[in-house]
Symmetry: C2
Subunit: 334 residues, 2 copies
């Protein structure tokens, strides 16, 4: 007992010194410590600002959405830009909230040809083929990353060529052969061949394009965001066009609809959308940044998500699915 | 054009005949068609009925929770039964709602020794070791299932012995070597050795025991449910004790807390819990059933979750993570 007492008494003195037992940094601490150079500014032209009607207490509800960069879903993204320019979304509403699935907004009368709100001219009609992309940018980018990892040879197929140099979570996906991040976005591919295709995946907060039955792919007038466990079965079946980077709680905490698929029963239950503007049109919008998914900070962050060793944790998971590695996004203080 | 017109004209006649192009059943249709024998009644003694204060419109908010069966987490489940018997939860509140993570309830003053609500006598103190279980029941059950699948031999290690006879989703998990369902619950294991252990996993709607830093494992007085993407990094780090089987929307659609970790800033934001009773104490509680995870219907349902071929889908995912295969639960009409 004497030794135990002494050991405890000695602790305060030791606490200030470096200790191998010191808990590892939490993911949030790694993100907080990331150098400025590891953050990427999001162009205001790629932001969409949706103002919902104020809540019951009169408080504003702003949702900020980042649109997806090339090469993904650019036909639909172009349509959405046209719809914003035409002020088409102003006055439509949130019509569907299905628990553990999606919140959806658009024209509540959109399926009734007599009552539907007229769409602007010039919207592109897309095919299913546009759900996936051949990523030449990706190839170039990863050739560099592979080189950094001292790959012996980069073979003539698309990357990654040196699979074993990457953390295991890339290849331990329940759905596909390989998952990764591309310029800040979670993406997947089914294999490594010359015609290899990639596509963005349905994680929490991702924004997609509502559609009817095939061959319809939707115009972009009807949008939804994921408010539950990742519905990855929608990957390659619906176009993803962006993600909510601020204000997701205004969509995820809405009352659930009681009709089939979470549709609201009455018009009174719908939340009106007052306006949707591009980031360039909104005075005083703060700048936003995401943590570069090609940075060392992000690699450390992803590793810490897969292997929590901070104080609360006893057993590191030893893995993480891609939707449990959310890309850090922050407002920049000006 | 003539032929096209004829083809269309012929369609109504053909529609009634069986067609190879007919879309496969949706998961919900497979569940709806499951025979009565494939459903398992949940004992009212394993149900916990939590009544939240009515919403702003005066409408009741009832949450029904199914407690976890042996061998999992039974120390904490026993504590929770004691807490219900002592009416301890009556008058505590929902104090934390963190978007894409958890809703947590208990004594808002629980961390202040002077103000904390006194706990009943006899609560068990559990260790981390109790987060996992050696599943002898599981072994017996799977020996039968393996036999059904015409396994050549069942070797002397724990099951599954004939991994290749099982659908691929079992071994395509981002976190562990094998995932499965045990008596209606999603479970995981890290490998196949004689001391193999199993544990329940953190899917949407699962209920767990809040705790402080290790070695604390919580008593069960502080509970939470998952309201976002599966936080599987909590597996083996917190005790899971049950799942919400009805009324999750009353917890998932609450306003998010604005303090760190989603804690509410003011007492007014908290949702009071009026009462928690066991199912046996609640008059008029309908019976509930879950779809037996050992049934053929469930196997077909899981396969359809992993390979959607119903009308809406163009590309089957070819996989499903275990939390994207939610166990069907239904109210029984009496």
């Amino acid at each position: 007992m004497k030794r135990l007492t002494l050991a405890f008494a000695a602790l305060p003195l030791l606490a200030a010194a470096p200790s191998p037992e010191k808990p590892a940094l939490a993911p949030s601490e790694i993100v907080a410590a990331a150098p400025v150079a590891d953050w990427v500014r999001i162009a205001p032209a790629d932001l969409m600002v949706m103002e919902l009607a104020p809540d019951a207490k009169g408080k504003g509800r702003r949702v900020v959405i980042q649109l997806m960069p090339p090469p993904f879903s650019q036909g639909w993204v172009g349509n959405i830009r046209r719809l914003v320019a035409a002020r088409w979304y102003d006055g439509v509403s949130v019509n569907r909230v299905q628990d553990n699935y999606v919140t959806q907004w658009g024209d509540a009368e959109g399926e009734d040809p007599k009552k539907a709100k007229k769409l602007p001219e010039g919207l592109e009609v897309l095919t299913h083929a546009a759900y996936v992309s051949r990523l030449s940018e990706w190839q170039a980018q990863n050739a560099q990353r592979d080189a950094d990892r001292q790959s012996k040879q980069v073979v003539g197929k698309l990357l990654p060529a040196n699979v074993e140099a990457y953390p295991a979570w890339h290849s331990r996906d329940a759905y596909v052969a390989w998952v990764d991040f591309y310029s800040g976005w979670p993406v997947a591919t089914s294999g490594y061949s010359w015609d290899q295709t990639w596509w963005p995946v349905h994680c929490y907060g991702m924004v997609g394009v509502g559609r009817g039955l095939s061959p319809d792919t939707g115009s972009g007038a009807e949008l939804y965001t994921v408010i539950g466990h990742a519905p990855r079965h929608l990957d390659r079946n619906i176009a993803l066009v962006g993600r909510v980077i601020e204000g997701i709680e205004h969509l995820s905490s809405l009352p659930r609809g009681t009709e089939v698929l979470g549709i609201y029963k009455s018009a009174e239950e719908r939340t009106p959308i007052m306006s949707v503007r591009m980031g360039t049109e909104v005075n005083g919008l703060p700048p936003f940044e995401y943590l570069s998914t090609e940075s060392d900070s992000f690699a450390r962050y992803a590793d810490s998500r897969a292997n929590r060793r901070d104080a609360f944790f006893n057993v590191p998971a030893g893995g993480a699915d891609i939707c449990n590695i959310p890309v850090p996004v922050r407002r920049v203080k000006r």
